[in-house]
Each structure stands twice: as structure tokens, then as C-alpha cells.
Amino acid sequence: MAERILDVKNLEINFHTYAGDVKAIRDVSFHLDKGETLAIVGESGSGKSVTTKSLMGLLANNAEVVGGSVMYHGQDILKKSEKEMQNIRGKDIAMIFQDPMTSLDPTMKIGQQIAEPLMKHKKMEKKKAWAQALDILKLVGIVDPEKRINEYPHQFSGGMRQRIVIAIALVCYPEILIADEPTTALDVTIQAQILDLMKELQSKIETSIIFITHDLGVVAGMANRVAVMYAGKIVEYGTVDEIFYNPQHPYTWGLLNSMPTLSSTLLEAIPGTPPDLLDPPKGDAFAARSTYAMKIDVEQEPPFFKVSDTHYAATWLLHPDAPKVTPPTEIIRRQKLFAEMSVNKSVKA
């Protein structure tokens, strides 16, 4: 079994607002193994970014961790002081942000921006740090790095800037890399390049990645495992094949159904909007938008039901007493493919 480097248990985060406490993260647990990529998928406001910001100790001032723990090397990150977190951030856990156009300091040379973490964490002198910055610029595929290291962010295109942001994140060879929608703000052609680069660097630098996205298409090529988040909770998690070809939660169905495929003629949208987390619904948060909702869904929260050793889903549909329902046709097609895959696997075995 792979070494577990990050273990998030029963994380609960509230945001204090004038209207009351928004329960943004409600009992979230997941883990990250060494060298793997975990994708956290969900729509805007589902709590993906808040979860990862808590791992970095970068929560907004009005956010409060109400409960849970984040174990990293046997210590609870959530209990660390700001000073201690400063020594972890950028060195052991680094982050790539969503919008490369705004995440670089416009008035500082990119060489210095890359060198900064080295000077802070490795106590390097400026010269040595710049030399290393040059190396990492080459690694992330910046052409003519000797010249460009002296340039400012506005002299780079969006894709190039994201490469620089990646260089900043990776320059200290972090154990964990959090990528918060790193391709959302980029052109589709550039997206593929950035994703390829991240995969390539992951094997070179041996980092584990938490990849946050709302784009399932991106997940398929990147992740080993997927956790699906909805309304501040994880509703289903499993390996990438299990989530894509054998999804169990109606919300995952909805997500996959709203993704274009070669055969789809009409894209299905998930009806309705996510619930108000000021006052979260009692049962399954997705019940109000689900055509598969049962009476118990609005009364009691579903626990995680085991689908396989790696695959769990929190939906009452998996309860032994639940009636059999027919998923959308696209999901049935996928589940058939999954059945064939597992047959092939067992034949090979």
C-alpha cells in the first residue's frame, strides 16, 4: 500500500458572515497517497477551494475551522501557528492558482519571484537562487530563459505565465502540490500543454497533486483518484475509472451527463441551484435537485456505502432496501463499459 502523506479527517469549516455562519465545509474526509493525483471535482461554491486553502493555512479572516484534523507527517496542520505554517507553505506544500494573469506581482522580475521561496526556505543567496530559478524556468519550458528571467509578468502570455506560476510552486520540490483550477483561465490548446507539463513534472519531482477542477474532462487524463464534492461535502470518491464508468451518486451522474461525449447530441444540465449553506438541508443536500430523490433523502443524511475497496458513495440508493432505479442512458452506457473492463481484467488475471 502506498504511503499516505496527507490525511484529512472530518474537516468542518464555517464562514462568519453578517447573515450568520455559512457551513462551507461539512465533515469532509479524504487522504492523499505519495505520488498520486487526487482530483476534487465539484461546481462553484461546493467548497473545493476552501478545503485546499485550509491545508495551506490560507483561509480568509472570517473563516473558522470548527472541527476535524489534517494530519501531515504525524502532525495536525490545523493546529500549527502562522509562523510554523510559513515554513511549510511553498516548501512542503505549494499551490498553483487559477488565474495566471493576476497571480504574478506586476512590478517584480519573474526571476526574483521564482527565487523568493528558495531564499526564504533554503536560505540561499540571491545569486544561487537565481541560478536555480533559471534551471526551473528551463524545466517548465520557457524558451530563452537567460533573457526572460529578467522580464516582468506583462511581457509573457497567459500560458507562459502559468508555467512561471508552476515554476514558483515547484522550485522547492514540494511534497504536495495543490493545483486550484490551474487551466480554467487558459485557452483550450494551452490547457492541454499545461496539463502535460504538470504530469511530466510530477514524475520528475515526485510530488503528489491535489487537483481541483470543475472540468471532468481535465480529470480523466490527470487523476488517479477522484473525490466529488457537493454543498460542502464529499458525496462520492473512487479511482478515476470507478467515478467515470461506475458512478453511483445521482450528482456524479448529473456531472457526467452534462459533459459532452462523442455520441451526445444534447447536453443535459443539472436543474436547480446548490443549497444555501447558511442553513444546509437536513438529508442528502442534492435531493432537491435530484430526480431520484426518495423520502429518506430529505429526512436523513446518507452515510457512505461501500462500492469497492476504493470506491464509496453517500447515497441512499445504495442501501439494500432501496428500490432499483434506472440511471440516465449515458451512465448505463458507461457502466456497461465498466463491466466489460472488469471482465477483461479478471480474464487477464
Binding site: Q86, R89, G90, M95, S103, L104, T107
Partner: protein
């Protein structure tokens, strides 16, 4: 770059010419004459005086003569102060004014940046409120009130600094504070607004994600990006302070230029009005050019392009 600078210098000269022209004719529209005791003078006396000062010539000729003199660095002769040349009057008094103005500006801007940053970092806390109240007080209390208070409490009661007059550095301390509180309050306000914006930006979050300390983030990333709006303010403000403050110079008996300027207007001392106006304008156009250059140093995005366009 060279072409750009040449173009800028040409416009500067043009600006100064326009200022000189407009001021000259506006000044001639002012009622009265330079003679303080006109009622007691006979028409002949007035005519003799007018001839002596060239005031009997047609205005357009006076204008041309003045411009010609200015090109040779001759700003004419003051009507008051025992017929001193204006250039001497200015050069002998501008030193004190410039020193005081510059000191006040440095004091105000440096302290203002610190207070403004402090307020922005601790936004919406009592520290922020305190800094805001202080800068409102600094902005709204007239500097002559502050000057008198400083004289009374610091100079008279505590005896730390001389109460007035112009000698060594210790004489400049109180007027510097009195004069610097205005720019201080203004700077604090600008920096606070700018920095609150900057601190909410993505690159500050990235800087935090690098593990930088709070101080490191403010010093290396936030400050420079908050300075742009301030630079616009500082330039003209500095010129205004350096070319003399009548009130402060009066209160502290400083032999500066501010008092001269005001006196010259009330007495229709045309050459002195022109001289001080031209000095102020020249300072201003130079400072505006400097401001544009400083912009480029602070923010590479607006750096002047090297190919001259």
C-alpha cells in the same frame, strides 16, 4: 527615449511660455498701481516713477521687454525692498523655503506610508480606525493651529526646540512638523486605499503561499504596487511646499519666499509676482516629467519604450 525627452522638453518650454503670457496679462488686469502712497504723490512724480519702471509703455511692449529679459535670466527689479533684482530676491530666500518644504515632504511621506500601510494591514480593526481618525485630524486641522500649539507646548513649555527664527537644524524641526502633517495625512490615506486593494489581489495570496512573512509580503510586494497613486500626488505637492508657505514661514519667522509672494501681490509688485509664478511653474513642469519617469521605475508596465514613440 531621447526623442521622447526632447519632445517633453519642448512642451515644457511651451507650457512655461503660456504661463508667463497668461500671468502677465492677468496681472495687468489687477486694479491699482505698485505705489503704496499714491495719494500723496503728484501726477508728475507718478509719471517719473512710471517712466523709471517702464510702466508708461504700451502693455504689449512691456510684455515683449519682460520676455526678452527672462530669456537672459533677468527677472526685472522688485518694486519693493529697495529695488533689489527679483532674481536676487528669490535666490536669497528660496533656500530656506526649499529646505523646509523638502523636509516637511520627506517627513510627511515617510511617516504617512508607515501609518497608511499599518492601517491597511490591520484593516477594520481599532488600529485602522485610529489611523483614519489621525489622518482626518491631520487633514482638517489648519497647519497654523498646529504650528501655534507646537510653539506653545514643545518650544515654550518643554523648551525642546527654538520657538521661531532660522538657524541650524533644530530651528527647522517644529515648522517641518507643522508643514508636514498635511502631506502625512494625505499620504496615509492614499497608501491605505491603495494597499487594501493590493492586499486583496491574487499575487499577494501567491506570495503568502510561498511562505513569506507578513512583513516580507508588505515590503516586497504590496508597498511598491501601492505607490503609483501616491507618486501622482507627491510631485506637485513637493513643489507647492518648496516654493514657500506664507503662513508657516510667518509664524516661525522664516526668511522664505512664501511671504514675499503674498506681499508682492498685495502691493502690485509685478516683477516679483511674475518671478515667483515662473519659479513655481518651472518646478511643476520639471516635477511632472520626473513623475512620469518615476512611474516607469516603479511599474514596468508603464515604462517608457526605448524606440521613442
Amino acid at each position: 527615449m531621447r526623442k521622447y525627452l526632447l519632445k517633453r522638453v519642448f512642451y515644457m518650454v511651451l507650457t512655461l511660455f503660456l504661463v508667463a503670457t497668461i500671468t502677465f496679462f492677468l496681472m495687468k488686469l489687477m486694479p491699482g498701481t505698485p505705489y503704496s502712497n499714491q495719494e500723496k504723490m503728484t501726477p508728475q512724480q507718478i509719471q517719473i516713477m512710471n517712466e523709471q519702471y517702464g510702466l508708461n509703455k504700451p502693455i504689449w511692449l512691456q510684455y515683449l521687454i519682460y520676455l526678452g529679459g527672462m530669456l537672459h535670466g533677468d527677472l526685472g527689479t522688485s518694486f519693493q525692498y529697495s529695488n533689489q533684482p527679483v532674481s536676487y530676491l528669490i535666490s536669497s530666500r528660496i533656500g530656506a523655503s526649499a529646505q523646509l518644504g523638502l523636509q516637511a515632504m520627506i517627513f510627511g511621506v515617510v511617516i504617512g506610508i508607515i501609518i497608511g500601510s499599518f492601517a491597511a494591514i490591520n484593516r477594520n480593526t481599532w488600529i485602522d480606525t485610529l489611523c483614519t481618525i489621525l489622518s482626518i485630524i491631520g487633514k482638517s486641522v489648519p497647519n497654523f493651529v498646529l504650528a501655534v500649539l507646537l510653539q506653545f507646548y514643545i518650544a515654550l513649555k518643554l523648551g525642546w526646540f527654538p520657538i521661531a527664527d532660522w538657524g541650524g537644524f533644530s530651528y527647522t524641526v517644529l515648522p517641518t512638523i507643522a508643514l508636514g502633517v498635511g502631506p502625512l495625512a494625505e499620504t496615509a490615506r492614499f497608501i491605505r486605499t491603495g494597499m487594501v486593494d493590493v492586499l486583496n489581489s491574487d499575487y499577494i495570496e501567491l506570495a503568502r503561499a510561498k511562505g513569506l512573512t507578513k512583513f516580507g509580503i508588505v515590503y516586497h510586494h504590496a508597498l511598491r504596487n501601492s505607490l503609483i497613486p501616491l507618486v501622482t500626488l507627491i510631485g506637485p505637492y513637493t513643489v507647492a511646499l518648496m516654493t514657500g508657505s506664507m503662513v508657516i514661514e510667518n509664524i516661525f519667522s522664516i526668511p522664505g519666499i512664501g511671504e514675499q509672494f503674498v506681499k508682492s501681490i498685495t502691493t502690485n509688485d509685478y516683477p516679483t509676482i511674475m518671478g515667483v509664478t515662473m519659479l513655481f511653474s518651472a518646478g511643476l513642469v520639471v516635477v511632472i516629467l520626473l513623475t512620469d519617469i518615476v512611474y516607469g521605475i516603479i511599474d514596468p508596465r508603464i515604462r517608457l519604450s526605448g524606440n521613442g514613440d
